[in-house]
């Protein structure tokens, strides 16, 4: 049996390779830095891509593995199978490029989720391929257990990569609307026990005596990690998926870093850990923008039923008929539309624009008030409305919109909830207290389009719905808008 040693003999090629890795690491860091400023973001992305390109090319050209045979002969092997590698690179590049160029702007989060899952699967596959060799080697050397750095890196890479892959796929299916939320308190216990089981299994595998060819434990381990990935994401609400993707993104970063640890590869190590740590911080920042904790996002799905019953019975909700709404809107001077996640879910952005054009033709001034976290993904509403060709000038930022609220005749809230909840300003005991909101209650009339009286994702009742100036227009945003547009046309 041959032994792969980590000691690398000096050669010009190895030196050049390591310099390219140093360069790649620097470009990753600068790329991330530039990505976090609006003016330099695009070039930051290109810098990081350049670093990646250099690392890939130099690895293929100059990577060397020193192999020591049992009889003491040492051979240095370069990367083989190059035609196959180039073919795989070409196929992956083509599919990746094609999918990214073709994908609709509204489907971006799904796409990011898929690519993230691919990275996780790649890390898991590497571990699956490295484990048998490592075990054979240890068995030959007469080890009684597998407790060492390589085994930890392989097993953690496999576990985190698999969780990230399965989780990302579920996140993709949810964002794409092909999978609903499965909310059951028992899932929380299932999840926790699965996580404990995985960690115990990791330790058990490392304590096992290495036996050449005995690979079933890691297959079972991989299967368990995949199942955990599914049950981890399953109960989390569809609107929280961007936060989950960001979290899974940092997981994949750690899985990649495990590969770096295994091969002593500095580019993988720095790249992976950078993403792991910045991804975690980004996840927390995203939660903060919604005024929620990460824990609340992960297990928050269970709060809804508990809080829903807190509504007082004596509050009444007024409904508005379609014809009344149509008349009210047609004879207004100034109308603000407040879009939210419900608009995105119903894919009603084009109808929304139609309504806005129709009203404009009647001399009504229509604008959109954009809350920074409306839709739960920063920039979500901007992207959505841009897709429907709503001119950029019509999108008004929250603060400016709030200044104009008091002389607005009608505010139409479409599929938004927490971002217009007055409790954020009035009720210090509210979980969203302190979050800036669009002050729809200051307008002369309010129409809220909503599917039902259910609470929003922050799971708190919204007093705006009971506001004397408010009237509800129940139904799916798309269907309701369609009827409303028809009604206004027939006036």
């Amino acid at each position: 049996m041959e032994t792969i040693s980590k000691i690398i003999e000096f050669s010009n090629e190895i030196s050049i390779l390591e310099i390219s890795y140093l360069l790649a690491s620097i470009l990753f860091i600068l790329g991330l830095k530039k990505l976090s400023h609006p003016a330099t973001a695009r070039s930051g992305n290109l810098w990081a891509a350049a670093g990646m390109g250099a690392a890939i090319v130099f690895t293929i050209l100059f990577h060397k593995t020193t192999i020591t045979h049992p009889d003491g002969t040492v051979i240095v092997k370069s990367i083989g199978n190059i035609p196959w590698i180039l073919a795989a690179l070409a196929i992956g590049s083509f599919i990746g490029w094609y999918a990214s160029v073709k994908v609709k702007m509204t489907a971006m989060p799904q796409m990011v989720s898929i690519f993230n899952g691919m990275g996780g699967a790649c890390a898991a596959l590497i571990s699956m391929m490295e484990f048998p060799g490592m075990q054979n080697e240890m068995a030959l050397a007469g080890h009684t257990h597998m407790f060492d750095g390589e085994a930890i890196a392989i097993l953690l890479g496999l576990m985190i990569g698999s969780v990230s892959f399965a989780g990302s796929m579920i996140a993709f299916l949810k964002l794409d609307g092909r999978l609903g939320d499965i909310k059951h308190p028992i899932l929380r216990i299932v999840n926790l026990s699965f996580l404990v089981l995985l960690l115990v299994a990791l330790v058990v595998i490392m304590l096992m005596q290495p036996v050449a060819g005995n690979n079933w434990p890691i297959y079972l381990f991989a299967a368990a990690a995949l199942i955990y990935g599914v049950t981890f994401v399953m109960p989390i609400g569809g609107a929280d998926m961007p936060v989950v993707i960001s979290l899974l993104n940092s997981f994949t970063g750690v899985a990649a870093a495990m590969g770096g640890f295994l091969y002593g590869n500095t580019a993988m190590l720095t790249g992976g850990i950078l993403v792991g740590s910045s991804g975690t911080i980004l996840t927390i920042l995203m939660c903060n923008a919604m005024n929620r904790s990460l824990l609340n996002v992960i297990i928050g799905a269970f709060g809804i039923s508990a809080e829903g019953g807190a509504d007082d019975g004596d509050k009444t909700v007024k409904e508005v008929s379609l014809s009344d709404a149509a008349v009210l809107l047609s004879y207004s001077q100034k109308v603000y539309i407040v879009p939210g996640y419900g608009l995105a879910v119903a894919q009603a952005q084009h109808l929304c624009h139609e309504l806005d054009n129709l009203l404009a033709s009647k001399g009504v001034e229509v604008k959109y008030a954009i809350h920074p976290v409306a839709g739960r993904m920063p920039g979500h509403m901007n992207v959505l409305l841009a897709e429907a060709d709503v001119p950029y000038e019509k999108l008004v930022e929250m603060e400016d919109a709030n200044n104009e609220m008091s002389n607005t005749d009608v505010v139409i809230v479409i599929g938004a909830n927490d971002v217009v909840n007055p409790a954020a300003e009035e009720d210090p005991s509210s979980p969203i207290y302190g979050m800036p909101i669009i002050r729809a209650q200051e307008a002369k009339n309010i129409i809220v389009m909503k599917r039902s009286m259910a609470a929003g994702y922050a799971a708190i009742p919204n007093n705006l719905f009971y506001h004397p100036k408010n009237r509800m227009l129940f139904g799916d945003a798309k269907a309701t808008l369609q009827k409303l547009v028809a009604e206004i046309k027939s006036l």
């Binding site: 891509a49 750095g149 770096g260 993988m268 790249g271 993403v275 923008a289 920063p378 992207v383």
Partner: protein, 101 residues
């Protein structure tokens, strides 16, 4: 205990890189504005595609058919992550730029 101390010494260089990179990662993005959260997530998603280097290394030393197939698959998946990640990020940022005008 002995094992743990030995473990630390054996891998000390990498442990140092890991710890320093953790702090660097936190520091580098700590002042990002909310509008850039999604592109930044997408950009860092592309960066962890660096796992492809590992895939190239295993593929480069694969000898039997099974490893060759798995390695081939791993390289494809890694490339998807890298290329798709960077292209998607670029498209997102392109839109942001248009908006600024």
């Amino acid at each position: 205990m002995d094992e743990i101390l030995r473990f630390f010494l054996e891998y000390k260089d990498m442990i140092f890189i890991i710890i320093l990179s953790v702090f660097l990662g936190i520091e580098v993005i700590s002042h990002v504005p909310a509008v850039l959260h999604t592109p930044l997530m997408s950009g860092s998603n592309a960066i962890h595609g660096v796992v492809i280097i590992g895939a190239i290394i295993v593929m480069g030393h694969a000898e039997d058919t099974l490893s060759l197939i798995l390695g081939f698959l791993a390289v494809i998946l890694g490339t998807l992550n890298v290329v798709g990640g960077f292209v998607v990020t670029d498209r997102m940022l392109e839109m942001f730029k248009k908006k600024k005008k």
